[in-house]
């Protein structure tokens, strides 16, 4: 084939399909990508540094702002890390409430992933349907903690408040209606031939390579690797629920997409079981007013919506953390973007980036 002069194209920082302020420098031969260099940092707020000037409790609202689409999961990861450090036993009821809220958060995050992916490929309708249902989850969160997006609901030792009376009936109604909504997405997006033509066999991710690059979450499972911390290394009360881990076969964009839809079904299943088993009791352990964890460090990871979300907390025995580092799955999942895009056409870059489901609040921290 005739080789032409290589051109450089900036995709972003303002580009709707990068889902935030993200910049990819594309080097292209004709329309074929020869290099895709991701540049991040436009949304850097220094959250890890801010933590050092805050008390342990005061850092909770900042974790919301990492992956703002799944704030409950971010809260949970952090408070569980501190609880591990302080050896706090969390009451049963609080654990179950956490599971319910985390799984709702996971569904909300996947709904955005599924919806925006539909937009990226060119189908606006699917996006509207997903947001319609996500709105109901936001309403549920508003009932529980008063906020819709930046929730700050988890506390070290439990949760901020018990569930209000109207929550469980509203949740049950949501659980009843959601499966048919998921069928709608399957009909609208997954079954669409144009969508399939754009995503099947595009952006193949080899399981071995995925593991080597530290890719986690639905992106890894779409390549057929069984790795879900809720199953492989159960934390909280996840070992008490019966659910499956959906896996993909080829590891292409289509598998990454369908994995998320299947995961939403499993999350609904977990929530239903958690509601049935929900015990009575306190929602907060007895913790001192001023938290002073013993000097030392701890690393705790949970299965976030985007992948393995880890918190590394170092304490020097004072009431403020000495250092906090967050293992942000979106950031690490981006590491393979260059290899993934090489050889594909420019339109496929959008499809590949969308299928990775990054959120820039988490990439930049």
């Amino acid at each position: 084939m005739l080789r032409t002069e290589e051109i450089t194209l900036n995709m972003g920082p303002q580009h709707p399909s990068t889902h935030g302020v993200f910049h990819v420098v594309l080097k292209m031969d004709h329309e074929v990508i020869t290099e895709a260099r991701p540049i991040c940092g436009y949304l850097h707020r220094g959250i890890e540094k801010l933590a050092e000037a805050r008390t342990y409790t005061q850092f909770i609202p900042y974790t919301d702002r990492l992956d703002y689409l799944a704030a409950m999961l971010n809260n949970t990861g952090y408070v569980q890390a501190v609880e591990k450090l302080m050896e706090i036993e969390v009451p049963e009821r609080a654990e179950y409430i956490r599971v319910i809220c985390c799984e709702l958060s996971r569904i909300a995050s996947h709904l955005i992933a599924v919806g925006t992916y539909s937009v990226d490929i060119g189908g606006i309708t699917g996006f509207m349907y997903c947001l319609r249902d996500r709105e109901r989850i936001m309403d549920l969160f508003e009932m529980v903690c008063g906020s819709r997006l930046t929730l700050s609901y988890m506390r070290i030792g439990g949760v901020a408040e018990d569930l209000p009376d109207e929550f469980i009936p509203a949740l049950c109604q949501f659980l009843d209606e959601m499966p048919s909504r998921l069928d709608e997405y399957d009909g609208l997006i997954t079954g669409n031939e144009i969508f399939q033509a754009r995503t099947k066999h595009v952006g193949l991710l080899d399981p071995g390579v995925a593991i080597n690059y530290g890719i986690s979450g639905p992106n890894l499972r779409a390549s057929g690797v069984f790795w879900d911390l809720r199953k492989n290394r159960p934390y909280s009360v996840y070992d008490r629920f019966d659910f499956e881990v959906p896996l993909g076969k080829r590891g292409d964009c289509f598998d990454r997409f369908t994995c998320r839809i299947k995961e939403m079904r499993q999350s609904l299943k977990i929530i239903r079981q958690a509601v049935e088993q929900l015990p009575e009791g306190p929602v907060m352990a007895k913790v001192p007013k001023v938290l002073k964890p013993p000097a030392g460090d701890v690393y705790h990871e949970i299965e976030g919506a985007k992948g393995i979300l880890g918190y590394y907390v170092v304490s020097d025995g004072s009431n403020k953390p000495y250092r906090i580092h967050v293992r942000r799955p979106s950031f690490i999942n981006l590491g393979f973007l260059n290899e993934l895009c090489k050889g594909w056409k420019i339109a496929d870059v959008v499809a590949i980036l969308g299928s990775l489901d990054i959120v820039l609040g988490e990439v930049d921290c």
Partner: protein
């Protein structure tokens, strides 16, 4: 058959046409808010004992409390919130033992100018306080918790 998926999609959108609308015409109508909704703050000046617990709980130093000594008692002379820095996390409301600072249901807080943003919840002369219930203890506590 190719195109079946497209027809399925059209069928779904057609069905949706006949279901109840979810859109709300916002300024004219609005949705009911949850009782716990985090809206604008209200301060019950009578209840507030100027202990500064709320200000200390805040991660972003939003709350500024001014106090004065009145017959060995700490009284409130000013309560200001720099709402532009507020995360609406609710830690201040949780910290208040007296239930003096609370969220209201008001969410339309947009302002035209930056200097209008700070929310002044109390400013002025020390309120005349009749009730003498727990002043002795709280005055002592207030000394300890002052920033």
């Amino acid at each position: 058959m190719f195109g079946q998926g497209l027809l399925k999609g059209l069928q779904i959108t057609l069905q949706e046409l006949f279901t109840k609308k979810v859109t709300v015409q916002y300024p004219e109508e609005s949705l009911p808010l949850a009782p716990r909704f985090h809206g604008e703050f209200v301060l019950d000046v009578e209840q507030c004992i100027a202990c500064s617990l709320c200000a200390n709980a805040c991660p972003n130093k939003v709350i500024e409390i001014e106090t004065a000594k009145l017959d060995k008692k700490r009284v409130l002379t000013g309560y200001m919130m720099r709402l532009q820095y507020c995360l609406f996390c609710g830690l201040c409301v949780e910290a208040c033992n007296k239930g003096a600072i609370r969220f209201s249901q008001k969410f339309e807080m947009a302002k035209y100018f930056r200097d209008q943003i700070p929310l002044i919840l109390y400013k002025g002369e020390p309120p005349v306080q009749e009730e003498q219930g727990n002043t002795g203890i709280t005055a002592g506590e207030a000394e300890g918790t002052e920033v």
